[in-house]
Amino acid sequence: MTMSTGKKVVFYVLLILSATILFAPTIMAIVMSFMTNQDILTGSFPKTLTLDNYVNAFERFPLFQYLFNSFVVSIMIMLGQLILCSLAAYAFVFLEFKGRDLLFYVFIATMMVPFEASIIPNFHIIRDLGWIDSYQGLTVPFFAMAFGTFLLRQNFKMIPKELREASQIAGMGDFRFYLTVVLPVAKTSLVTLGVYGFLTSWNMYLWPLLATTNDSVRTVQIGLKQLQTQEQLNEWGVIMAGAVIVIIPTLILLFLGQKRLQRGLAEGALK
C-alpha cells in the first residue's frame, strides 16, 4: 500500500503519540528504579543513576525465593492446564458419547462464572485438604480451564477426521493417536495456550494472597505488595526495581513465544 507523505507523517505522529502514552508508566517505572529516593520524591529529573534500589530489593526481601515460587507455580499451572485441557478437548472432538455437546456447553458456561465467585468454596476445599501454604494449593484449582479446552477443541476440530480413521485402521489406540498425531499437529495452539496460562498465573494476585500465610511458597506479586507496605514512607525506587525484575521473565517469554508462534503458524496448514 502506498501512502502520500503527508498521510504518512500524520499516521506516524499519531502512532508515536499513542505508543508513548501507552508505554509511559513502564518507562517511568524503569527510570525510577535507577533513581535515588530523594530525586523521586522531589519529582525532578534523575541527577544520578544508581543500582542501589536493585541491591536493596534483593537484600531486604527474599526476592529470589518469591521469583522461584512464582516460576514453580506458573510452570505447574501451565503444564496442568495443557495436559488437562488437551485431554478434555480430545474427548470433545474425537470420542463420541451421549450428551457430548451438552456437556461441552455446560463446560463453556463455566467461563461466565468469574474466579472471584468460586474463590470461597475453593478456599474451603484446599483448607480442608490441608493444602494452605503448599504448591498444590496454589496450582491445582487452576488446572481445569474452560477457555483452554474451548481453544484447543476448536483447533483439534480442524484436524481431519480421516487422520483418526486412518490410525484406527492401522490399529492405533486413542491415547497413542493423541500423543503422536494430535499434539504435534496442534503444537501452535498448545504454545499459545501455554504462554497464556503462564502469564496469567505469573500475574495472579488474589489467590496466592489467600492461599499462603508465609514466605515459603508466596509468589512474587505478593512480595511486591509487601515491598510497598512495610514502611511508612514508601521507597518507590525499591518497589520499581522489584517491579522491573518481575516483568523481565514475562518479557522474555513473550519474545520467545512470539518467535515460536510465528514459526508455528507458518508451518501449519496442509490442504
Binding site: 480413521e165 485402521i169 492401522a170 498425531v181 499437529v185 496442509l270
Partner: protein, 372 residues
C-alpha cells in the same frame, strides 16, 4: 482370503429412514469391485461399514468367511485410502508410509524392506524425506497408496481417491492403481461417483442409488443391458437418450410422445411390451448420420461439440434434448437441419412406472458378439 460378503446389510442414523437398504453382495478374492452412485447414495457409508468406521444397523458382514460386525477396524486386516489422503502433516513421507507398521509393531528390518520395495514400486524413493505439504497432489496420492500397500493387507478400500486430481493425472493414476491391484492380487473395493472411473477400472460394478442396489455386473453388461432407467442414464457419457413412447395402433411404429415416429418390426414386439407404458432409451452412438438410404428423421441441431475425433450434436426430441455421437469431424452448425437414422433395433425398452428394463437393445448385443 480377502473375500467380502454382505448379507442384508442396512444402515440408518436415526432409526427411521434407512440410508442403506438390505444390501446383499459378494465380492470375490482378487476382484476390483467398484461402488458407484450419485452423491448421497450411500456408497461411502457402505465402504466405511466394511472398514468398521461405521456401525452396522442390521445384517451380517463377513470378511474371509468370518463375521466381523463387531470387530474393530484394526482386526479386519484391511487398508484404506481416503479422498483427502489423510496424510499426517507433521510426518515425512517415510514416516507416513511406515505409520501403520509402527502401530502394529512390525520389526524394524521388515519395515525398511517393505518401505524400499513400496517406494520403488510407486516412484517415491527420492521423496522419502519430504513433508506432505511439499508434495504435489499426485505425489500425495501415491504416498497414500504406498501406505495402504505397505500394510500387506489382502483387502484394500478406496474412497474416491482420485477426485482431487486433475483430469490428466487422474487418467494416469487409474491405470497405475489398476496395474498395482492386478500385480499384488489385492481385493479392491473402490468408491467413486465418476462413471468413467467405474467403467474403466472395475471388474464388476455395483450401481447404488438412494441406498438400494440398482444393478451389479460387468461394466459392459451395465452399459448394454442397464437394469433400469437409473442405471441407463447414469452409466455412459453422454447419457442415454430417453423418451416416453407409445405404439401406433397398427403396431408398426413407435411414437415418442407425439412427434417422431420410429419404424419397428411388429414381430419383435412382445406381449409385455404391448401392455406396459414404456420409456425407450437409445445410446448417443446409436443415432447414426443419415444417408439417402437410411435417413429416418430430420432434426434441428441446437448444439454441436467438436471433439476432434468425434462430434456430438444435440437436438430436441419431443420435450427432451437428445444427443448423437458421430465419429470423425462433421461440418454442422447450430440451426442446421440434419438427417439422422434412428431405428428400432437399437432401442432399449423400460417400464415407465417401475423404471425396470423390459428389453435391451438387440443390435448392441450382436455387436458385442462380433467384437469377440
Amino acid at each position: 482370503m480377502g473375500q467380502v460378503e454382505l448379507m442384508n446389510i442396512s444402515k440408518s442414523y436415526d432409526k427411521q429412514k434407512n440410508v442403506l437398504n438390505e444390501i446383499n453382495l459378494s465380492i470375490e478374492e482378487g476382484e476390483f469391485f467398484v461402488l458407484v452412485g450419485p452423491s448421497g447414495s450411500g456408497k461411502s457409508t457402505l465402504l466405511r461399514m466394511i472398514a468398521g468406521l461405521e456401525d452396522i444397523t442390521a445384517g451380517t458382514l463377513k470378511i474371509s468367511d468370518q463375521v466381523v460386525n463387531h470387530l474393530p477396524p484394526k482386526d479386519r486386516n484391511l487398508s484404506m485410502v481416503f479422498q483427502n489422503y489423510a496424510l499426517y502433516p507433521h510426518l515425512t513421507v517415510e514416516q507416513n508410509i511406515l505409520f501403520g507398521l509402527r502401530a502394529k509393531k512390525v520389526q524394524k528390518e521388515e519395515q525398511q524392506l517393505r518401505l524400499t520395495e513400496t517406494a520403488a514400486m510407486l516412484g517415491l524413493s527420492s521423496l522419502l524425506k519430504r513433508k506432505p505439504k511439499e508434495l504435489s497432489g499426485g505425489q500425495r496420492q501415491r504416498v497414500a497408496l504406498a501406505r495402504s500397500i505397505v500394510s500387506h493387507s489382502p483387502l484394500c478400500l478406496m474412497d474416491e481417491p482420485l477426485s482431487n486430481l486433475d483430469a490428466k493425472l487422474r487418467a494416469n493414476m487409474r491405470v497405475e492403481i489398476r496395474r498395482l491391484q492386478k500385480k499384488l492380487g489385492l481385493t479392491m473395493v473402490y468408491v467413486t461417483h465418476d462413471q468413467v472411473e467405474a467403467m474403466t477400472m472395475g471388474d464388476r460394478i455395483m450401481v447404488l442409488n438412494d441406498g438400494k442396489i440398482q444393478q451389479v455386473g460387468k461394466p459392459i453388461t451395465l452399459y448394454n443391458e442397464p437394469a433400469n432407467v437409473f442405471v441407463a442414464s447414469f452409466i455412459g457419457s453422454p447419457k442415454m437418450n430417453m423418451g416416453k413412447a407409445n405404439f401406433s395402433s397398427d403396431m408398426k411404429q413407435l411414437v415418442i410422445e407425439h412427434e417422431p415416429h420410429i419404424d419397428i418390426d411388429p414381430a419383435t414386439v412382445s406381449k409385455r411390451l404391448k401392455e406396459a407404458s414404456i420409456t425407450i432409451g437409445i445410446r448417443a452412438e446409436h443415432i447414426f448420420p443419415g444417408t439417402p438410404d437410411n435417413t429416418t428423421h430430420h432434426v434441428e441441431v441446437v448444439n454441436v461439440e467438436h471433439l476432434g475425433n468425434e462430434t456430438t450434436i444435440a437436438f430436441e426430441i419431443a420435450s427432451d434434448l437428445w444427443t448423437a455421437k458421430w465419429p470423425g469431424q462433421w461440418a454442422i452448425n447450430v440451426g442446421d437441419n440434419v438427417p439422422v437414422s434412428i431405428t428400432g433395433e437399437y432401442l432399449c425398452f423400460f417400464d415407465t412406472e417401475s423404471g425396470d428394463l423390459i428389453r435391451p437393445a438387440m443390435a448392441g448385443k450382436s455387436q458385442e458378439v462380433i467384437a469377440i
